[in-house]
Structures are given as structure tokens and as C-alpha cells.
Amino acid sequence: EAGVAQSPRYKIIEKRQSVAFWCNPISGHATLYWYQQILGQGPKLLIQFQNNGVVDDSQLPKDRFSAERLKGVDSTLKIQPAKLEDSAVYLCASSLEGWGWQETQYFGPGTRLLVL
């Protein structure tokens, strides 16, 4: 079974530029998550999709971050404009349902973003 795919793996941009990340979840998984992981910290949830609807985006900085999940499968996360403090690893995860009892999340390899 293929895992969660993410691209690009690395991205270096200047502050105030825009950047987009792509995620393809495990086939059949209804729920998709985007996390931000700053060096030395645990992942922090940015947004959760159930199929193509947003379930939780309470920690998403909506003035600069946006995300969409078209047709309930792939997802993109965009930052516009980027700030220095956005330098982090952006992880995508998926789970079978997301609202069920003790759902396990499976993670992709992440995209490392460096903002200069």
C-alpha cells in the first residue's frame, strides 16, 4: 500500500514570496491533516479536512495561509506572503475516517521550507 506522498521535499524562498505544497493521501483515506513542525518541537495541527470539507482550521494563520482539498483527495497548502518564522517542516497526514474512535494518522515525509 502506497503511503502519503508530498512534494516538493525541499523549498527555499525569500520572505514575502509565495509557496505551495502538495499532498496525496493514502488511497481511501477520507481525512487529511496539515501540520507544521518547527525544529525541536512536535507537530502542530494547521488544518483538518474530512473529504473536501474543513473540520478544524482554528490554528491556521488565515491572513497568510490557505489550503484546499479538491474532490476529496489531493490537497495543497499555500503561504502568501511567507515570513521568516514560517521556516519549518510541513507534514501531511491522513486517516481512514478522522471522526471515529482513536483514529491513527499516517504521515508523509514532509516538505522542508526555509525562508530567507
Binding site: 512536535g42 495541527l45 482513536q102 491513527t104 522542508r112
Partner: protein, 109 residues
């Protein structure tokens, strides 16, 4: 507010030297506690889910246990390939995962 702390922050062991990692949590209505392993440059890899106090799960040299306030990840006779960051996450009723900061484990040959 839900909180998860992990200790120690970093741990260095000799190969074969057993030890334990701690995950302490404060949540209302625990639904599950999850342990993940994260290698440098990779995403977290799922290890265990624990649902209720008293539960234990084992996988190779790893054993996870759960009480009402904390979880332990016991590592028996570790090998260098066990070196990684170990993350725990809790899921409370109606809430999403809250991750701890992780414990960086180094096992020296």
C-alpha cells in the same frame, strides 16, 4: 487546555542499556495516546495506540504502557538503529491530536 510534555528532552544510551521515556499529559476525556518514531528528514512513523489506563503494547524491543496521567515507552536492550526522536500525541474527546515535543534518543554502539 490540553498539554503534553515529554522527558527527558534527550537521552544517550549505550547499546544494550535499557531505559524508559516518559510522556505526561493533561487532557479532558482521553480517547487515545499515540507513540510515533521520527527519523531525521522523515515524517513520524506510527508505533502504538493505547486506549485506557493499564493497557500495554509491545513491538520488538519497545513496550508502551499507560496510566491515567502518563505513558512510558520502555526500550529493552536498544540497538543503534533505535536512535530517533520519539513523539507521543494525545487525542481528547472532540479534539485533534496534541503532540509533545519529543525525546531524542541516541544509542551508541
Amino acid at each position: 487546555e490540553d498539554q503534553v510534555t515529554q522527558s527527558p528532552e534527550a537521552l544517550r544510551l549505550q547499546e544494550g542499556e535499557s531505559s524508559s521515556l516518559n510522556c505526561s499529559y493533561t487532557v479532558s476525556g482521553l480517547r487515545g495516546l499515540f507513540w510515533y518514531r521520527q527519523d531525521p528528514g522523515k515524517g513520524p512513523e506510527f508505533l502504538f495506540t493505547l486506549y485506557s489506563a493499564g493497557e500495554e503494547k509491545e513491538k520488538e524491543r519497545l513496550k508502551a504502557t499507560l496510566t491515567k496521567k502518563e505513558s512510558f515507552l520502555h526500550i529493552t536492550a536498544p540497538k543503534p538503529e533505535d536512535s530517533a526522536t520519539y513523539l507521543c500525541a494525545v487525542q481528547a474527546r472532540g479534539q485533534n491530536f496534541v503532540f509533545g515535543p519529543g525525546t531524542r534518543l541516541s544509542v551508541l554502539p
